[in-house]
């Protein structure tokens, strides 16, 4: 089946005074229709920048330097729209109407001097030809859907008058107000306490069922990914090293990096003597990317003369796409 969104060889670089940081350097992934893709990886691996690049929201000094981001239409066999090549006006139509976003800090990502209603109504009226009252009704309806009590009154509240969890609900209400086909959620629960986290994740799943949209969930938390994702893409140093069904990737990871990640997470029922193993070594400095496979200096299965020379290409092994020289053929780049 055709995916909803396909990212090919995306490159987003930070052009700083001291050099270029290749935050996203050849990311390829696909978001299936109506399902949830979790993008996981350590902080700094470029997952947030990837998410922002999709709607071309990166700001100076970051710049998208290459790649394609293809948004497929619902009708099969139509030509997909390349968001990176689209004109500004076309891109603005795609924003929110097709792809909406929820950010990490609900307090910071809502304007504090505009009411929540005002901010939702603005989005609705921007993309749909509806009157003020109708848009306001929609806002109240959406607030109700996301579980905000007394939405008729809350629609006129300012964000700072709500609690953190309520703010994120309001943000989600705003994101869904135009019925997008894809919701990108960039660490939507990181700033919230654990109970609220779980509630928000449940809410997202319920809403996905109801609206039939795809979700791209950016998280550093494998637990969150396991809880909600149908698919998982694992990122390391600006590229996707592994993508496949969540159950497969998380229980039988192929890439040594994913294996190390999974080992580093505590499990229920784990015995005391099985100590948690952190991923060996540290993330290399941003200006120096290792040659060959980027993970090789930290890899337990490092093959000298091979991994430090040859750049692995993605191959399919079982149901998983993996970029590692342990699997399949090799290629020189």
């Amino acid at each position: 089946m055709q995916p909803l969104l396909e990212v090919r060889e995306l490159r987003t670089h930070f052009e700083l005074g001291d050099g270029v940081v290749k935050a996203v350097d050849g990311v390829s992934l696909s978001v299936p229709r109506g399902r949830t893709l979790a993008v996981v990886g350590e902080s700094g691996c470029g997952k947030s920048v990837t998410a922002r690049s999709i709607l071309r929201l990166v700001e100076k000094p970051a710049r998208i330097v290459g790649g394609e981001i293809l948004l497929y239409d619902d009708a099969p066999d139509t030509k997909p729209l390349d968001l990176l090549a689209a004109k500004d006006k076309r891109l603005r139509q795609v924003r929110w109407a097709d792809i909406a976003m929820v950010f990490q800090e609900p307090m910071a990502s809502l304007s504090l001097v505009h009411t929540i209603g005002d901010q939702i109504i603005e989005a609705v009226r921007l993309h749909e030809n509806v009157g003020k009252q109708e848009a306001r009704d929609r806002a109240i309806e959406m607030l109700d859907r996301v579980g905000i009590p007394d939405p008729k009154r809350r629609v006129d509240s300012y964000p700072f008058q709500l609690s953190g969890g309520m703010r994120q609900r309001a943000m989600i209400a705003m994101a869904l107000s135009c019925r997008p086909r894809l919701l990108i959620a960039d660490e939507p629960t990181t700033a919230l306490d654990v109970t609220t986290q779980a509630q928000i994740l449940d809410l997202l799943q319920d809403l996905q069922q109801e609206f039939g949209m795809a979700i791209m969930l950016i998280t550093h938390d494998l637990g969150v990914a396991a809880q909600v994702a149908d698919e998982v893409a694992v990122m390391y140093l600006g590229e996707v090293v592994e993508q496949g069904p969540a159950s497969a990737v998380l229980s039988h990871p192929k890439h040594p990096y994913t294996q190390a990640l999974v080992r580093s997470v505590p499990r229920l029922g784990q015995r005391g003597q099985d100590r948690l193993v952190a991923v060996r070594g540290t993330v290399p400095p941003p200006y120096e990317r290792p040659t060959g496979c980027r993970f090789h200096p930290r890899c337990d299965s490092f093959m000298a003369g091979k991994c430090d020379v040859t750049v692995p290409v993605r191959v399919r092994s079982d149901e998983i796409d993996v970029a590692c020289l342990l699997y399949g053929e090799e290629a020189d780049r």
């Binding site: 922002r52 709607l55 929201l57 700001e59 603005r92 139509q93 795609v94 924003r95 929110w96 109407a97 909406a100 976003m101 950010f103 990490q104 800090e105 910071a108 990502s109 809502l110 304007s111 504090l112 001097v113 505009h114 603005e122 989005a123 921007l126 993309h127 300012y158 700072f160 008058q161 943000m171």
Partner: protein, 332 residues
């Protein structure tokens, strides 16, 4: 909102009381009092005043009473009768001397304030949105110059240019034919045509400061996540900038009045001395030089009072503009 207004009002009254007290202290600060002046004047004329007459004078002006009583008598007169005391040098009541001048001072200061806003905000916003552009560098450079040039220096240079190249004095607020005329449309137009030079001169320093503040504030706001949200919503760039970060960065529009207005009044005082404008400046200077303390004190009192009122109005405007402040006192 009502609570907020009430709090501001109470605070204003306390401030005014404090100002009046400080003013009175300043009035009483020079060694000696009115009788010293009388005696000195008499001696200068070669006369001698008997002690009994001095005591009579002291009693007449309440100078024999304790300080706090003198203060209360004075402030009672000010509040109840608008009686600001007697100018010794002019031998007139202070109120009759300064009425028109204070009015013109306020006109000039408020006009300068409007000028500062009108110039500084667009430039500050432009500078931030086009950071590191040629225009931004030019604005920053002019801003630095504006802060480094004292107002009186600028006034002098303007006067010099006017005198040297246009052969006329740019000082004063009225042409000679209107100076003593009654108010009419012609006089008003004449005033306006004279007013712009001092307005610009007084406003330059404040403009420079406000450009810097607006620019810095907007630069802080531009990269906040809520701007990214607005962008993600598909708003056109200029529309989202105006609605979100610019609106947020405009809060200083109101909160700056608190420091801008005192600065403008200070600037107005010295500029009007240089350009000999019929505002409070020259009269205040003369009063200071002749130690005519009641006149001096009255100026300090009135100018400070007007500043405090202006600041309070700007606080109320800020509360209207920024919901975070408006709602702060709702819960309690």
């Amino acid at each position: 909102m009502l609570r907020f207004v009430a709090r501001r009002l109470v605070w204003m009254v306390i401030t005014l009381a404090a100002i009046s007290f400080v003013t009175f202290v300043v009035i009483k600060l020079p060694p000696g009092d009115y009788t010293t002046t009388v005696i000195a004047n008499a001696e200068a004329r070669g006369q001698d005043i008997p002690d009994s007459q001095i005591a009579e004078l002291k009693r007449h002006y309440g100078l024999d009473k304790p300080f706090i009583v003198q203060y209360l008598t004075w402030i009672k007169g000010v509040v109840l009768h608008g009686d600001l005391g007697q100018s010794f040098a002019w031998n007139q009541s202070v109120a009759s001397l300064i009425g028109n001048r204070v009015l013109l001072s306020m006109v000039l200061s408020i006009a300068s304030l409007l000028f500062v806003w009108a110039i500084a905000f667009p430039i500050g916003i432009y500078s931030a949105l086009r950071q590191y552009s040629g225009g931004d560098y030019l604005a920053s450079f002019l801003g630095f110059i504006g802060m480094a040039v004292p107002e009186f220096m600028l006034a002098l240079v303007m006067m010099y240019i006017g005198f040297r190249y246009f052969g006329q004095s740019v000082g004063g607020l009225f042409s000679p034919e209107y100076a003593d005329a009654a108010w009419n449309l012609g006089k008003l137009l004449d005033l306006i045509s004279h007013l712009w030079v001092p307005i610009v001169v007084v406003g330059v320093a404040g403009t420079a400061g406000l450009i810097r503040i607006t620019r810095a504030n907007l630069l802080d706001e531009l990269h906040k996540p809520y701007v990214a949200t607005a962008r993600a919503k598909g708003l056109p760039e200029w529309k989202l900038l105006l609605k979100y970060p610019v609106r947020m960065s405009l809060s200083p529009f109101f909160s700056t009045v608190g420091w801008l207005l005192p600065g403008l009044i200070s600037g107005e005082t010295i500029v009007s001395v240089v350009m000999s404008l019929p505002t409070s400046g020259p009269l205040l200077l003369g009063a200071v030089k002749s130690q005519d303390m009641y006149l001096v004190g009255s100026f300090v009192l009135i100018l400070s009072t007007l500043t405090v009122i202006g600041t309070m109005l700007s606080d109320l405007a800020l509360a209207w503009w920024d919901p975070r402040i408006r709602t702060r006192f709702q819960k309690g």
